[in-house]
Structures are given as C-alpha cells and as structure tokens.
C-alpha cells in the first residue's frame, strides 16, 4: 500500500486516507487466513504474503528450473469500486509501480496491464499508454463483470489488445459488491471461491456468442485461476445448442469449441481434478490440455495438488506444451532471447 502512494496524486492520496481505504490485497478474494490464499511455503515469510518489492519476489517465489520469463499480475485494480475516476487513477498508479519496482529491475519479468474496470474508454487509454513497452504482455480484467465481457460495450478493449498483440486475461474474482452467482449472494467462502469457475463459463459463452473472436481474429484470452476441468461438458452443450440456435447469432460461423480452442487458454491453477489416474486419463481424452493449458505457479495461492497428478499422465511433449510453449505463444509480444516464457505470480 505504502509503495503505491507515491504514484497517486495528492487528491487520491487524500481520498484514500479520508475513506481509510487500505490497499492490502483483495482481502475479500484472498482472506489472509484462508488456506487457499497463501501456501504453506509462502506463509514462512513475513506478511504480506504477496511480494510487494522486487527483493521479496526474488527471495520468495521459487525459481524452479530456470524460469525464463515470469508474468506478474497485480490484482489491486480488480477491486476498484464504482468511482470511475478512482478506478482509472488506481490502474495507472499500479502499472507505474509495477514498471518501476519489477519490470525495470529484471529483464525476465513481464506484466499484465491493470485497467479501469469501470469505463472501457479508460481501459483503452491505459492500454495505449503502455502498449509501446514490450514488457507488458496482457490486459488484466476480473472474470467478474456487470455485463458479460463479450458485450458490445467492451469491444474497444479487445480491439486495443488485439491491435497491440496483448493477450486478455480474465482473472478470478474482482468486482466486490456484486453477486457471484446468477441467483444472488453467497454467504460462505466455499461458495464464493467456487463461483469463479461458473462465472468463467458464462464469460466464455458470452465471448463466443457476441462474435468477439470473429471481430478480433488474433485475440487471445486467458482464463486465469478459473479452473479448466469444466470445459469439456460446457463445450459439448454449447456446440449442440449452436447447431440448433446459430441463427440467432449468425456471425458465430463455427462450432463454439473451435473458437475456444483457437483463442482461449486457461492457467493450470486451480487444477481441481479427480484422484484416480484413470479418471485423469479420461479427462485428457475429453479436453485437449496440451493445447489449452498454460502453466501458472499462481504464487502465493494454494489450490491443492492437482497439477502434478495431471502432468504425471502427460508425455514429455505434453508437459512441455503445458509448462512452457503454450504460455510462450500467448505472451510472445517480445522475447529478448527467443526463449520460452513461464506464467507466474499474482500480486494483489
């Protein structure tokens, strides 16, 4: 929080101070005591769990096997409230801070552009502000939205992202104060946590039905921390419905599943999977994970041990795709030495 203050104007510092808004890292989404918010390893370091300095990042985030590139997601702006000017100012401040504190200190680091979640035009302005800097590889949006992301009013964001070769990441959570389910508010963390994947499904449905991938054929969308094991049944249903009702959306010219596999990726955390290897192998037949998944450590979050069990069922080529090449293709705005990327850390 303190780190961010110098990047805000006097007025917004005064505003934060007056309203006692502490930017302590999405405590609704990641309550510090929740087991999923902070892994055991991350808890061994002093709070806050999310690295708020480059030194912390170097010290805490495991650098297993020579990560060539790490994508940083600072989620602070996902929780902007309804004041649209605040949302824009916060996003700009976050990006300035990430640039100075992280990107400028290590050429392996890349980051997602925080944008206003309130006004698409402001989001576009922020994208344009950062686009020439090749270290920004993605536009970060919350998976939770008031109107589904495919809605026309959001298209300028996708246009800007496509124009600049930026991926668009839909990250779990965001938009506090909004009901996480179609039928209303939940009262337990268990329900709220699981709502992310249902919302991600609705967002995918929207992106396809609204023709986003027809209008922006080079666009890549990443579902970050929304799971993926739900994808096969959704696509079966979606493909079947399209065959009957395509006439309502005649710009959707191909099977929804074709759009999704071409344009959408999902990160590997959380990997909520069955225990039995046989069931995992069946899942691998149903979902083309070698095409779909991009590795994410999701530091400092902890969603269990599904990923190693999935990787154990893949061959070397499959593991390579999931761990390196898919992310590299996603975030290939720039690669200083042509080496593969690895997706990584979330930093509220």
């Amino acid at each position: 929080m303190d780190a961010l203050l110098p990047y805000l104007s006097d007025y917004w510092r005064q505003y934060l101070d007056g309203a006692m808004i502490g930017l302590h890292g999405l405590v609704d989404a990641y309550p510090p005591g929740a087991p999923t918010s902070i892994s055991g390893r991350a808890r061994s370091f002093p709070a806050p769990a999310v690295p708020s300095s480059y030194a912390d990042l170097r010290e805490r985030v495991p650098d297993e096997g020579d990560a060539q590139l790490v994508v940083l997601n600072c989620l602070t702006a996902l929780e902007a409230h309804r004041n649209p000017y605040y949302a824009a100012a916060l996003a700009t401040a976050v990006n300035d801070w990430v640039r100075d504190e992280f990107l400028d200190r290590d050429e392996r680091l890349r980051a997602s552009i925080a944008v206003s979640i309130a006004v698409p035009d402001d989001a576009v302005a922020e994208i344009e502000r950062r686009a020439d800097d090749p270290r920004w590889v993605q536009v970060l949006l919350p998976v939770r939205s008031e109107l589904p992301w495919g809605h026309r009013s959001h298209h300028a964001i996708f246009a800007a992202a496509e124009r600049h070769g930026l991926a668009v990441g839909l990250h779990a959570w965001g938009r506090p104060g909004q009901a996480p389910t179609p039928n209303g508010f939940t009262s337990t963390y268990f329900e709220d946590y699981l709502a992310n994947q249902a919302i991600a499904q609705s967002q995918l449905i929207s992106l396809v039905c609204e023709g986003v991938f027809e209008r922006y054929p080079d666009l890549r969308v990443v579902l970050i921390e929304c799971g993926f094991a739900w994808l096969a049944p959704l696509l079966w249903r979606f493909d079947k419905d399209w065959k009957g009702i395509w006439r309502e959306v005649p710009w959707v010219k191909q099977l929804p599943s074709e759009y999704v596999y071409r344009h959408v990726r999902a990160t590997t955390a959380p990997a909520h999977l069955p225990r039995e290897p046989r069931a995992i192998r069946q899942l691998l037949e149903m979902i083309d994970v070698e095409r779909l998944l991009a590795y994410a450590s999701d530091y400092p979050h902890d969603h269990g041990d599904g990923l190693p069990r999935l990787l154990a069922e893949l061959d070397d080529e499959g593991r390579d795709a999931v761990l390196t090449t898919n992310a590299a293709a996603l975030y290939n705005r720039s690669r200083p030495d042509g080496s593969p990327d690895r997706d990584g850390v979330s930093a509220p």
Binding site: T181, N183, T188, Y189, F190, A232, P233, L234, D241, E285
Partner: protein
C-alpha cells in the same frame, strides 16, 4: 412412425406390461384462460385487468428456435399451445414412444413472483387442472406438485393437500428463485416433500435475474448458461448443509444437462479438502452428498463428438443410478427416446436410465396394466 419397435407392439397384447420407459420431464401447458375457472373472482379479475406482474424470461430471451417448441407439436385446435392438448400428447408422446409413465411439469408459475393471495391460488389451480384434465385422462400420466415456493408455509399446505394422491410423484421447484436454493427459507418445503417421500424437482427456469457475470444478450447464451447456473445452486445446497440436515431429501436437477457434474464434484471436493475444516456444514465429502441426494434428468443430454465420452462422464460422476431419462416434450430440444442416448449406453445402464432409476425414485410400479385405449397392433 418413428421410435416404436415391434417388440413394444407385442408387449401391448398382454394385459399387463413391464415398464420400459419413464419420461421424467414432460410439459403440460395451460393457457391463462384455462386456469381462470379454478381461480377466485378477485384473482380472476386482477389477472384479467393487469396480468401477472412478474419478469418473464421469455420476453427477455425470445426462444429463437420454434418459439421454444417442436414445430410439429402444435395442436390443430386454434389457440391451443404445444402441451395444451391431452389427446395430442397421448398420441405424439405416450403412444408413439411407448412411454409407460410421464411426469408432467407445469412451468407457468415457476417464478412465483406474485403477492401471496395470488401466489397461493395459481399453483392450486394448476394442480386441480392437472388432476382433472390429465391425470384422470390417462393412467400413464403423473405430475409434480406445483407450489408457491417463495411462501414456504403456503407451499407446505399445497404439498399436504396433494400428497395423498399417489399420481403426484414429486414437488416442483425452479432452478432460479429469489434466493439460492440451499437457503433455509426453502427448507420447510423440502422437509414436507421428503416426509411424503416426494423428490423435489428443480426445473430450469423460474425467477431469473442473471447476476453473476451479468445478463447475456441472446437466448442461445442464456440456454447454455443453465449449466453453470445450476452448478452454483448445487454448491449452495451443499454449503448450507441442506443434505446434512434433511438426511432423506432427494432432489432432481431437471433440464440442466448432466455431464458438468463431473468437474463440479471434483472442484467441491478439492475445496472441501482445502477449507472444509472451517465449514461445519460440510461434514461429508461434497461428492458424497451429491451422490446420496441428487438425481439428474438426462435432457438436454450432452452429445460429445466421441459418444463414449458420455460414458466417461457417467462413470466419473457416479451417475449410473442417478440418471432419469426425459424427453422434455414438447420443447424444441426434445430428446428422442430412441436416439438421444448414444448406442454406447447399453444393457443395464440403459435400462436404469430409461426406467429403472425412475421407478425407484418415484416409487412407481414396475408392471402396469395395458391402457384400454392403446392402439391394437
């Protein structure tokens, strides 16, 4: 004539027949005028003057294909909608496919967004109409009791009224209501149903606000969205401890698809392993709650490009004894009893899905008398 096979015709010559096909989701459709005679004068006048003041999902999302119906299911009589003519339903569904039992679900009051004096009358009218014009008409027909679910005490009264009639085999609830379905607000209804061994069928539709990701723009999107919406409802039921509190409750997820149950169970179990200790209502593994208490009608059955993947999903989600075949006649996404399930679903599994599970769940006799009007082969 599609579907019916010679074997079925032969069985009809016997005075009794073994049940081979139960259709767990069929829609009878009253026009507003049909129900008027069953309503009080005041309610009749109110409705004639103002109509129901409720959000109608069909206005927000016009059903782009066939206005939501099979185009060949429109009765010849003008002004009668699909599902409005018992004779046509008998011919086009029961006789044509050899349906032994069909469970009628009337959706006209599924949103229950009426003041209590109207909310109490509409379901009563529907149930009276069902008994008089449908259940008396053909002994293969059964029905789900329509209740004013947003008024739990009134809903319980209606359940008590109908439960003695064994032709009412379930209680109808919507998939979308004013609160999440696990809310204790609705528990008295579940409790009353369970006391009479009536399963509660949560049918797609109801009071739809499209919170969460926000309202989609198209009917196709809202249609596909019924799956993730029901996923959040199941999570709600697990999280609030419904299955822990009402140990004999049985619910039927109706017209929401089936394959998504796999990933939802894995996710709930995973979350339970990670944080269950802090959620005292989750005493058991969530997938166990789901298996113990939840059934699913098949329609609209997912049709994976590789049909055996459906078998994977059934295995992964332990659905072999939980699936109930349904056609959803007369809606456009009707599942044919002959062709909706892939050939890979065969033998004992097919028998369980086509009739075995339903006989057990609804307490229906496995042998029934041949109806006197059945066509002579």
């Amino acid at each position: 004539m599609t579907g019916a096979v010679d074997l079925r015709a032969r069985e009809r010559t016997e005075s009794q027949r073994l049940v081979r096909l139960v259709d767990s989701d069929v829609h009878a459709q009253p026009m507003p005028a049909t129900l008027m005679p069953y309503l009080s004068v005041g309610t009749r006048r109110y409705l004639e003057r103002y109509g129901r003041r409720t959000h109608n999902d069909m206005h927000a999302y016009p059903r782009a294909r066939g206005a939501g119906t099979r185009l060949d299911a429109w009765p010849a009589k003008p002004g009668t909608p699909p599902g409005g003519d018992p004779e046509l339903l008998r011919a086009q569904l029961l006789d044509e496919w050899g349906v032994d039992y069909a469970v009628l679900q009337v959706l006209n009051a599924l949103d229950c967004y009426d003041p209590d004096h109207i909310a109490v009358e509409l379901p009563r009218a529907i149930n009276d109409w069902l008994a008089e014009h449908w259940l008396d008409f053909d002994d293969r027909l059964r029905a789900a009791i329509v209740v004013p679910h947003e008024y739990a005490h009134l809903a319980v009264q209606e359940i008590e009224r109908r439960a003695p009639d064994p032709r009412f085999v379930a209680v109808l609830m919507p998939a979308n209501a004013q609160e999440l379905l696990g809310s204790q607000r609705y528990w008295p209804i579940y409790e009353a149903a369970s006391a009479h061994r009536l399963p509660i069928m949560f049918h797609t539709g109801g009071f739809i606000r499209n919170l969460g990701a926000g309202p989609p723009s198209y009917y196709i999107a809202s249609h596909v969205n019924t799956s993730p919406a029901m996923q959040t409802q199941l999570v709600s039921m697990v999280a609030t401890g419904l299955f822990r509190a009402l140990t004999n409750v049985r619910i039927v997820v109706t017209e929401c698809g089936v394959s998504w149950v796999t990933a939802l169970r894995w996710a709930m179990d995973s979350a339970w392993e990670l944080m269950g200790i802090d959620h005292p209502r989750l005493e058991q593994r969530p997938s166990e709650y789901v298996h113990d208490h939840v059934w699913f009608t098949t329609q609209p059955v997912e049709e994976p490009a590789q049909p055996h993947h459906l078998l994977y999903a059934i295995e992964q989600a332990e659905l072999a004894d939980r699936l109930l075949f349904a056609t959803d006649y007369p809606h456009w996404d009707f599942d044919s009893p002959a062709q909706a399930l892939p050939r890979a679903v065969d033998g004992k599994l097919r028998a369980a899905i086509m009739y075995g599970n339903a006989l057990e769940l609804f307490g229906l006799p496995a042998v029934r008398s041949r109806p006197s009007h059945a066509p002579v082969p």
